[in-house]
Every structure is written in structure tokens, then in C-alpha cells.
């Protein structure tokens, strides 16, 4: 039978983007240890509503660690203390009765707080918009088997493509850098034969867009620890290489003005 926990929660409340926020304290009692972290917040919200108090807004959707919507700082760690686990996948059996849990939204200049624990992460979409795609208009594709992809390349690309776009990397980074996110998307596409035609243009555009919103990477490595998909730091090195190449290669072909 599952145990229950009594916890003290310190949760950031903020009424709107321009409001000053602060930590509020809540008691979460009789939380079953089979419950997920977000289910615990649901339970707290239900009791707030019962007491006519405005419930806590927090980001969530799929509750299975794949959509990337959820994400808060839990006791100073993005997505909490379990490696490779998104906030929604964290279960209360990882906590102890009597624990105090501090819950704060992602903080970065590019992620303004919308309300309570919800932040705006649209710069991540801006980076994808700048080049995170392969130009392949519908209907023009050759047979899928015409471009064989070595198995290990496909696996490596999938490793990079596994990024869920949650922004934990930015939130965890002391520099609020966006390298892990950007490099994962870059490697996903740049490593594939299909991505070669636009490889250098993509790298340039995405890196330069990334730098408009985020800080610079100084290799703390904190991002990978926070990442629910454990995206590798190697992709950052690949991005650094590709960026240099994209600047160095004289991309004007012979004869072009």
C-alpha cells in the first residue's frame, strides 16, 4: 500500500507579467507517494479552490514527459532531482515525509514570467523558425529508401531529435544559454544526408538567432544534467565546429557575384 506524505511547499505566485511576485507557503498533506509531482499540485489546487483561493497556475499538458510543456525549478534544480526526468514524471515517492519543497518558475531574461509558475518560451520557436527545418515541400520527396542513412547516424540524429523543447537547459544554465537546445536541433538535421544542402546556412541562422535571446555557453555542463532527455553536450561541440565552418567556407560558388 502506498504511503502518504505531509509536505511544506514554497511556491512562487505572481499575478501577471508586470506584477511583483513572491513565495507563498502551502501545506500539502496526505499526498500519496504514488502521486506524480503535478498531481500533488492538483491536490493543492483543489483544496485552494475549496477555500475560495485562486489556484496556482503551472505549465503542464501530456504528463508523460514528451510534450515539453511542464517545467519548474524544484529545490533549485530544473525538473527536480531525478536525472532524465521531466517535472510531470517525478513521483512523490522520491520525497520524504516532512520535506520542504521550493518551487520556482524557469528564470531567464528570454523567458518572462506570465503568471505564477508559467513562463513564455517562445524564443525557442524563434530559433526553429530561423532554420530548424529541411526545405522539402510536400510532394517533392524521393522514395524514402533512396537516401540510405547509416544506422549509427540515424541513432545519433534520433538522440538529438529527442529534445522536447522544454527549456530546462536554459533555466539551469548559469549563463541562461540556449546552446543545448539549439545544438540538438542542429545536429538532428545536420547529421542527416537530407540536411546537407542547407547545413551551413541553417547553422549560421540558428546560432545568430539564438544569440539574440540567450547567453553564451561556458561549458558548465549544468544543462545536460537538467535535461529530461539527457541530450549530450557533444552536440554543442558539433555546433561550434559547424558554425566555424559556416563562416570560413566561402559559400559563394565559382562564378557567383
Amino acid at each position: 500500500m502506498s504511503q502518504t506524505l505531509n509536505l511544506t511547499l514554497k511556491i512562487w505566485r505572481q499575478e501577471g507579467p508586470n506584477a511583483k511576485g513572491s513565495f507563498e507557503s502551502y501545506q500539502a498533506n496526505n499526498i500519496p507517494d504514488d502521486a506524480s509531482f503535478l498531481e500533488m499540485l492538483d491536490i493543492v489546487n483543489e483544496s485552494l479552490i475549496e477555500n475560495n483561493q485562486v489556484p496556482i497556475e503551472f505549465p503542464h499538458d501530456c504528463r508523460e514527459g514528451i510534450c515539453g510543456t511542464c517545467g519548474v525549478m524544484i529545490n533549485g534544480r530544473a525538473h527536480g532531482q531525478e536525472i532524465g526526468t521531466a517535472t510531470c514524471q517525478l513521483h512523490m515517492r522520491k520525497f520524504n515525509d516532512g520535506d520542504t519543497i521550493v518551487i520556482e518558475p524557469w528564470r531567464a531574461a528570454a523567458f518572462p514570467v506570465v503568471k505564477d509558475l508559467v513562463v513564455d518560451r517562445s524564443p525557442l520557436d524563434k530559433i526553429v523558425e530561423a532554420g530548424g527545418y529541411i526545405t522539402a515541400p510536400t510532394g517533392s520527396a524521393p522514395d524514402a529508401n533512396e537516401m540510405p542513412i547509416p544506422k549509427d547516424v540515424a541513432e545519433s540524429s534520433m538522440d538529438a531529435a529527442a529534445c522536447i523543447g522544454c527549456g530546462a537547459c536554459v533555466a539551469a544554465c548559469p549563463n541562461s544559454a540556449g546552446q543545448l537546445f539549439t545544438s540538438a536541433k542542429l545536429w538532428h538535421l545536420n547529421s542527416l544526408p537530407q540536411g546537407q544542402a542547407e547545413r551551413y546556412k541553417r547553422t549560421e541562422e540558428m546560432v545568430e538567432t539564438m544569440e539574440q535571446y540567450f547567453g553564451s555557453c561556458t561549458n558548465h555542463g549544468e544543462c545536460k544534467e537538467a535535461c529530461p532527455k539527457e541530450i549530450s553536450l557533444d552536440f554543442i561541440a558539433e555546433m561550434n565546429k559547424d558554425y566555424m565552418k559556416s563562416k570560413v567556407k566561402n559559400r559563394k560558388k565559382a562564378g557567383q557575384k
Binding site: M1, S2, P32, D34, A35, E39, D42, N45, E46, I49, N52, V54, P55, E57, P59, H60, D61, C62, R63, E64, G65, I66, C67, G68, T69, Q89, H91, R93, V114, D116, D120, D125, V128, E129, G132, Y133, I134, A136, P137, T138, G139, A141, P142, D143, A144, N145, P148, I149, P150, K151, A154, E155, M158, A161, A162, I164, G165, H188, L189, Q194
Partner: protein
């Protein structure tokens, strides 16, 4: 109005080609004169937005998420079917078509399904060219695996995250169009009503989820790609925000809702552990490739799974269905699980599950091979339950997963409201009464990439030269006022219970009575209980906060309200259909072996329901189904 499916004449294999030639085209230079609204940015919505924009149309895409990539398509695990026959095992467009019609228990429109099978091959090509990292063999060519309901290996996959990768491909393609300026993307904007003028769709009313602002948007055509209504069960594999509102609002404005009782219960989900449970997590059907499903023969079994000898294990699917074994279609697997658990053989602390055991597969192929195939799924299971599936069997139980029902659409994917289209799970789709595994991804992308971009021209071409209805037209003002009133009303009710509470209660009624097994008295009970609960809701729901900032309770309020109405229709549809087919199982209509017994003579039709206002039940319209190519048989997976 009379339902005209607009299925082209001629031989099945030529209908779609012929149709593409016969329907009206919009000249490339004229496409930029048209504006199209696409609501929803999942597989169907993103692929449609991207493709329509590539063609030259001006597209406005709407999602209520903070990014298009949050759509629940992202969670699909197992794979996508296509009739490529790379495995040389006898697959073909015809076989995929046949398997899908049969898997749908002969309740789908053959022509739609054939088209689906035809374009399935193009989808794989498109996805590969976008950089979707499908699994590959050592020589670099695409790998396949098999899925439930098929005897060929035709499923393409990207680890256990195929939906994610396909959605990212479509999302990225759409973002390219955003970059080009061809798609205007509205995030955190929820459609709360459809606007029609003179019976034609002309736009939508939206609410900005951050500021509460209500806005009007008009277009020459509106596409709803807003997903399914599985969350009516409250506990489902859907994401928390998934809802039926966009489709339901369209229904209330005149779009017929077809076959709402065709809901799919997925057999392999993690069983609920308590009252607080907010959703049920899907364990991909691909697990059934290697896992063996069993329950202890003894009802009072207390031993751990590992200590139960083979002879005392009831491998019920393998015993009952030798030909398909653990790979029987979902409805068959789900019903059988319910049967054994109801009979008292359930496992787990609440005895509400069955075992999905990998011990034999690990012994046969080695742990590394199993980890390579299912690693992320096993990790997911362990996170949620705290149990290690490499050493103890997984516990699974069926849960609501997909809805075959949805807005009625014709061969052009247009609803009964001219100018309103529905794509993906939002439409009543090509799956009939039961969807095969790995075909939802196929259908969403087929609709978005290869069907809608062609068929939408047919209704647009005659509109060349006219502008969309301006947003200051009275119809927009009226619709805006309605939406604002509803929101104000929710905030003013000031009752005693949260929308969550009501949703949970509704879910219980729906699961009990309109779930895996239905009967007359249960359905009648459901109708009256849901109606009563709905009325209580409008008196007693408590929505705190305001409409000027992010307010997830207020968002939920509207969605739950619409679920009540849908739940009632589901029960009515199930009551009306006195047969069992696919995901709709009426206890009164079963074979001696407990399989679904269809009544083809009386029920070989689509039930399309027309809204008559809140106080009058919907009117049923029939679309008769004829099966020219696939002979009607009793589905057997023995």
C-alpha cells in the same frame, strides 16, 4: 440535409486519381488571394498549414499551446503504417486498405480508406525528406516492425517516439512557412466558437489565453484539426488540455457529428493507482510484439508473478486467438482484459491490471535487444510505478485512447457546413469502428499533406474574387457576444466545486456506462445522469480568478461544459446502434465466443447527428455504407 459523401465513381483503385483531376483547382497565381484558418497544430494541422502555405494560400494557424510542438500528436509512441512492402512480406496498397477496412469492423467508407492506403507511401517519403530519424537497418534503409491487426510488418518507427518525430517534421515545415511570412501563427489562442454566415463557415472567435482578449478572425475556409474527444472519460491517455470544444462548437453551428460512440480503448496502459490520478499513461502497442499477456489462473493468487509456474498462467489471448495471439486488434485485446479482470483474475495492488511479460523475450533475444527496442518505454514505466519491467512483468489495463468518431466529413474532408473542413482525429475519419495501431499518425498526415491541399480548392475556386466576410460583420459581433457571455457566466456562477471535480464525475459515468462494454440500461442511465450532472454543473461550478490573465480554471470550465453535451450524444449514439462493432460493444449483441456481433443489415451506416439545441436530442442522419471491395465477414483473429 441529405448527406452526400461525394465519393467519386469508378474502380476503387482509380477513384482518388480521378477525383484529383475532376475537382476544381485554384490557379497558382490566385492561391495568394485566399485566406485559410487552420485550428490545431498537431500532425494534421501543422502538415495542412505547411502544405497549404507552400501552395501559396495565406494561412492563419491557431494553437492554444505556447508552441505548436506541444500538440498531443507528440506523444504517439509506436509507429506509422505505410504500404511500402519494403519487407517483401506481401504488403500492398490493397492489403493495407483491406486490413484497415476489416480492422474498422466494416464501418468505414471504403473509398476514404483506399485513398489513405494509397497516400501512405508518400507520407513516409515526405517524412524522411524532412529529416524524421526513422529507425534504419544496418545497410541504411528503413526498418519496419509489426503492429496489432496486421500479419505484415509495415510500421515505420523512430524508437518509441514516432509521433514526436513526425510532429516535429510537420512543425518544422510549418515554421519555415512562418519564417517566409506565409503562415501567421497565433499561439496561446483558443478557438471558442465558429462563425457562420448564411450557413457557410466564415471564421472563428478566439480567446487569448494570456490576456483574455476575445478576437475575431475571418477566412475563406476553416480547417479544424483539433484532435479527439477521449478526455470525456476524464482518465485517458490524452493530454490534460485535449478537448472537444472546437469540434463541438462547430457541431452546434450545424456540423454533423458522426459515430461518437466509436471510442477506442487501448489495451496497454498503466493501471490507475488512486483517486488523484490525472491521466493514464500509454504503453505503446509495439510492446505487444514481444510481451506476452497473461493473468494467473487462480483468482486468489497471492504469489509474485515470477513464482507462478507456466501451467498456472492463463495466456488468454494466445489461447483464444492462435493466429494473431497477442497482436489481436485493440478492441479485442481490451475487451478480453476487462473480461478476465472482471472475473477476478486482476493483478496489482488494486487487482485492476493484467501482466505484459517480457521474461521470455529477454531470455530469447537478450536484455540489450529488448532495451534497444523499448528502452524508453521501460524507463517511463519504471518512473511511474517504481517497478522494473526487466525483472518483473509490466502491469497494464485498457484506457481510453482514441476516438474514431468525430465531425462528419465528405470525400473532400468538408463537414456539413460548407467551407468548414475537419482533418485528423477531429473528423470521423477513415478508421470505421476501430482504428488499427500506427494508423492515426498515417491518417493525420494523409489529411494534412496529401488530401486537404487538393480538396480544399474545390470549395475555394468558386469564391475567387470575393473577400472573406469582414470581422465587423454582425455575425462576428454576435458570436463574440455569445463567447463573452459564456465566460462571464462561468465566472459568476460561484458554486462550490471545481471543474476538475465535475470532469472526474463525468468521466466515471462515461467509463462505467459508455466504456468497453455497453448495454441498454447502462446507456439510458448514462444519459440521465450526465444531463443531471450537466445541470448541476451550470449551477454549482466554482471558477475563481478573472478573465484578464492566464486562468486555466476558466479554460477548463468551457471544455468540461462541452464534454457533458458530447457525453450525452455518445450515449445516445451507443443506444441507437443496436449492434456491436469495433470499439462499440453492446452486451446484447455478441457471438457465442463473446466477440462483437455486427448487424450489417440494419447498421451498415454512419450515424451523423444534427444539433437541435440544448433541450432537444440530436436528429440522426444516415450515410449508408456499401462494401464493394472488401467482402463483409465476421472479424476473426483466430
Amino acid at each position: 440535409m441529405l448527406l452526400n459523401s461525394k465519393v467519386p465513381t469508378g474502380p476503387m483503385a482509380e477513384k482518388w486519381e480521378k477525383h484529383k483531376f475532376d475537382i476544381k483547382l485554384v490557379n497558382p497565381a490566385n492561391k495568394r488571394k485566399f485566406k485559410i484558418i487552420v485550428v490545431g497544430t498537431g500532425l494534421a494541422g501543422a502538415s495542412a498549414s505547411a502544405t497549404l502555405a507552400e501552395l501559396g494560400y495565406n494561412v492563419s494557424a491557431f494553437t492554444f499551446h505556447d508552441s505548436p510542438r506541444r500538440a498531443h500528436s507528440i506523444a504517439a509512441q509506436g509507429g506509422i503504417n505505410a504500404a511500402k512492402n519494403y519487407q517483401n512480406d506481401g504488403d500492398s496498397v490493397h492489403r493495407l486498405f483491406y486490413d484497415t477496412v476489416k480492422g474498422g469492423d466494416y464501418r468505414s467508407r471504403e473509398a476514404n480508406v483506399h485513398r489513405l492506403a494509397e497516400v501512405s507511401v508518400n507520407i513516409i517519403d515526405q517524412a524522411a525528406s524532412q529529416g524524421v530519424p526513422f529507425a534504419r537497418e544496418y545497410g541504411g534503409l528503413l526498418a519496419n516492425r509489426s503492429f496489432g491487426g496486421a500479419q505484415v510488418s509495415r510500421t515505420f518507427y523512430a524508437r518509441g517516439q514516432t509521433g514526436q518525430q513526425l510532429l516535429l517534421g510537420a512543425y518544422q515545415q510549418m515554421m519555415r512557412q512562418v519564417h517566409e511570412g506565409k503562415v501567421t501563427l497565433h499561439t496561446q489562442t483558443e478557438m471558442l466558437d465558429l462563425v457562420t454566415k448564411d450557413g457557410e463557415a466564415c471564421g472563428i472567435i478566439c480567446r487569448d489565453l494570456i490576456t483574455g482578449e476575445i478576437t475575431s478572425h475571418s477566412a475563406h475556409a476553416v480547417v479544424l484539426a483539433t484532435g479527439g474527444y477521449g478526455n470525456v472519460f476524464y482518465l485517458s491517455t490524452n493530454a490534460m488540455a485535449c478537448n472537444t470544444t472546437a469540434a463541438w462548437r462547430a457541431h452546434r453551428k450545424g456540423a454533423y457529428f458522426a459515430n461518437p460512440s466509436y471510442t477506442q480503448i487501448h489495451p496497454t496502459c498503466i493501471p490507475a493507482s488512486d483517486e488523484f490520478q490525472s491521466k493514464l499513461t500509454l504503453m505503446s502497442e509495439s510492446l505487444r510484439n514481444d510481451g506476452r499477456i497473461w493473468v494467473p489462473r487462480s483468482k486468489d493468487e497471492t504469489r509474485s508473478a515470477g513464482s507462478i509456474p507456466e501451467a498456472e498462467r492463463y495466456y488468454y489471448l494466445e489461447e483464444k486467438y492462435p493466429a494473431f495471439g497477442n497482436l489481436v486488434p485493440r478492441d479485442v485485446a481490451s475487451r478480453n482484459a476487462k473480461t478476465v479482470v472482471d472475473a477476478g483474475h486482476g493483478v496489482g495492488p488494486l487487482k485492476n491490471g493484467v501482466y505484459l511479460d517480457f521474461a521470455d523475450a529477454i531470455k530469447r533475444d537478450g536484455r540489450d535487444a529488448i532495451e534497444g527496442r523499448y528502452g524508453n518505454l521501460f524507463d517511463m514505466y519504471e518512473r511511474i510505478t517504481g517497478e522494473d519491467p526487466y525483472s518483473v512483468p509490466m502491469r497494464i489495463y485498457p484506457a481510453s485512447h482514441y476516438t474514431m468518431g468525430g465531425l462528419w466529413v465528405d470525400y473532400n474532408l468538408m463537414t456539413t457546413i460548407p467551407g468548414l473542413y475537419a482533418a485528423g482525429e477531429a473528423n470521423f475519419s477513415d478508421h470505421g469502428a476501430n482504428r488499427l495501431g500506427a494508423s492515426a499518425l498515417m491518417q493525420g498526415l494523409a489529411d494534412g499533406y496529401f488530401v486537404l491541399p487538393y480538396t480544399i480548392g474545390d470549395s475555394l475556386a468558386p469564391k475567387l474574387g470575393s473577400d472573406p466576410v469582414p470581422t465587423d460583420d454582425p455575425v462576428f459581433k454576435e458570436a463574440t457576444a455569445d463567447v463573452e457571455d459564456r465566460l462571464t457566466r462561468f465566472l459568476a456562477i460561484g458554486g462550490s466545486r471545481s471543474p476538475e471535480y465535475f470532469h472526474r464525475e463525468l468521466g466515471k459515468i462515461v467509463w462505467e456506462n459508455i466504456g468497453m462494454a455497453r448495454n441498454r440500461s447502462g446507456l439510458e442511465k448514462a444519459i440521465s445522469e450526465i444531463t443531471a450532472l450537466r445541470e448541476e454543473y451550470w449551477q454549482d461550478v466554482r471558477i475563481l480568478g478573472n478573465n484578464e490573465s492566464l486562468n486555466q480554471s476558466l479554460e477548463k470550465a468551457g471544455r468540461v461544459a462541452d464534454f457533458f453535451e458530447l457525453g450525452e450524444l455518445m450515449a445516445r449514439d451507443a443506444l441507437d446502434r443496436n449492434e456491436s462493432c469495433g470499439g462499440h460493444f453492446r452486451e446484447e449483441s455478441q457471438t457465442d465466443e463473446g466477440e462483437a456481433l455486427r448487424d450489417d443489415e440494419n447498421y451498415s451506416h454512419v450515424s451523423a447527428w444534427e444539433w437541435n439545441g440544448i433541450d432537444t436530442p440530436q436528429t440522426k442522419h444516415k450515410e449508408e455504407l456499401a462494401f464493394e471491395e472488401v467482402p463483409l465477414t465476421q472479424r476473426s483473429y483466430k
